[in-house]
């Protein structure tokens, strides 16, 4: 658990760092832990807390040390577990400072109207008051951790004074941070590739993806199950053949039956997700691909356009369920809500329809 003792060889490979969500977050570590994290031997500027790669942090603490330089402030921030130096750059607005003596004078054009120059001055003053802190004031800093002259410090990318007269913010922070540690920082990262998961589940999701990719790449409008059946063959054939090599063929589901079963499940998933639907339910199983079904798109568009002209829907637009029942009446009884939502999404991204509020659509 003590990070200082971690063996450099145990460092996770840099290729995997980006997979750790903590890597791209501003971690709210205690200052004590920031000071104790080990620096990476592969890439300086990256640190490890519990094998989590970390390079930027988020700290709240009392200023206990303060130095001002021409371009930056140096604040020592104490969060009750440690003290760390924070390098806080002054921004340009801050540096263009005029003499404070001029502040008091009201400008000549001050007639109570909107005066951009005066407003900018006000903004500048507000900014300065948030950036210049005295000892004892509360500072929030976010930024990457750096080591300069063997001293850890935070290179602030944002920093500001926190007004916390009754400590409400500090208390909330103190309550939250241990939870973050328990739920994220102290949990080891588990990178389990999907392949080791349940094979039955993964073959189903693999099969679904294969069909989805096929429909997308070939811009298929409609298909029958036996059109796509062969695509799933590679998923089925490998396992049973291995088994039957050293055993006598046993009475069980044959490869063909397995294939049918898998295809049936995949088609069910695709229907549930609204990616395909059956326009007519008949012996002849024809599946229409929602995204490539121009007739459906036009039908939905027409319904919305016509109905949004009606007084009842003019103001708010048509509700999804209203559109759904209209589509079922006029176009096909079997269009599912999921399929309709896909259609609406694609119409909306083409600006053919506009969503007015949650689940309401209109067209012009």
């Amino acid at each position: 658990m003590q990070p200082a003792t971690m063996d450099p060889a145990e460092e996770p490979p840099s290729m995997l760092w980006g997979l750790d969500p903590i890597f791209s977050a501003f971690t709210r570590l205690y200052v004590r832990d920031i000071l104790q994290m080990v620096e990476s031997t592969q890439v300086p500027g990256i640190y490890f807390y519990n094998s989590h790669p970390i390079y930027k942090v988020d700290v709240l603490g009392t200023v206990v040390y303060q130095r001002e330089r021409e371009d930056f402030f140096c604040y020592g921030v104490d969060d009750g577990t440690g003290v760390i130096n924070c390098l806080c750059w002054k921004n340009d607005l801050f540096k263009e400072e005029e003499h404070p003596a001029k502040w008091g004078k009201p400008s000549d054009g001050d007639q109570g109207g909107f005066n951009p120059v005066a407003e900018l001055k006000k903004l500048r003053r507000a900014q300065q008051s948030r950036c210049r802190l005295e000892i004892g004031e509360l500072l929030r800093v976010r930024g990457p951790v750096k080591t300069s002259r063997q001293q850890r410090e935070i290179m602030a990318s944002t920093y500001y004074k926190v007004n916390d007269p009754v400590m409400a913010f500090q208390i909330a922070w103190m309550m939250e941070v241990p939870q973050l540690y328990r739920q994220c920082y102290d949990k080891p990262l588990q990178l389990q590739p999907n392949a080791t998961g349940d094979s039955a589940v993964s073959s189903l999701s693999k099969a679904t993806n294969i069909i989805k990719d096929f429909l997308k790449q070939k811009s298929v409008c409609r298909f029958r199950p036996y059109d796509v059946q062969d695509l799933l063959q590679p998923l089925i054939s490998s396992e049973p053949r291995n088994a039957s090599a050293d055993q006598e063929p046993v009475a069980g589901p044959s490869a063909c039956q397995q294939l049918h079963q898998l295809l049936k499940e995949v088609l069910q998933i695709l229907q549930d997700e609204g990616i395909v639907y059956r326009k007519v339910k008949s012996q002849d199983e024809v599946y229409h691909v929602t995204a490539h079904d121009k007739d459906l798109l036009i039908a939905v568009k027409d319904i919305i356009r016509e109905d949004s002209r009606r007084e009842k829907y003019a103001e708010k637009g048509c509700h999804v369920l209203h559109i759904l029942s209209a589509v079922r009446q006029r176009y096909s009884l079997n269009v599912s809500k999921a399929a309709l939502e896909l259609v609406l999404k694609s119409l909306e991204s083409n600006s053919d329809v506009v969503s007015t509020s949650d689940s309401h659509y209109t067209a012009f």
Binding site: Q2, V64, Y65, G76, D79, I84, P165, M167
Partner: protein
């Protein structure tokens, strides 16, 4: 160059030997008395039906506006002076009147129990 970290302590822990001289602490309490001529403030807190006092040396934070009866938070070092006993030499003295003391205590305990948990978890690892 940087001062030591000030660790939260309850007012009733200052005198029971839990903190050593020179240790950096942060303590809260209600200001009950201020003697500017001696630079001495007294904070008070109720705990277990007893009233506990903390003496604060305020030379470094003067002048400040003493509000008798208000809650204050002090950051400083423990000092043992002759005749006075244990006192906190304040580096920071903030008025935090209106603070939810019960919630603050809870937050401090929360933080402590987290560190205790983590240290306990780390201990067996070192033993092996």
């Amino acid at each position: 160059m940087l001062p030591a970290a000030t660790v939260f302590h309850f007012p009733w822990e200052i005198y029971n030997g839990a903190v050593q001289e020179g240790e950096s602490v942060r303590v809260f309490g209600r200001l009950v008395c201020y003697q500017p001529e001696e630079s001495r403030a007294t904070l008070s807190a109720q705990h277990a039906s007893k009233e506990h006092h903390v003496f604060v040396h305020t030379l470094f934070v003067e002048p400040f506006n003493p509000i008798i009866g208000a809650q204050y938070l002090v950051l400083g070092e423990i000092e043992k002076a002759e005749g006075v006993g244990v006192m906190v030499r304040a580096r920071v003295l903030n008025c935090v009147d209106g603070v939810n003391v019960a919630l603050l205590q809870k937050a401090i305990n929360e933080q402590r129990s987290f560190f205790r948990e983590r240290d306990d978890a780390a201990q067996p690892e070192h033993a092996t």
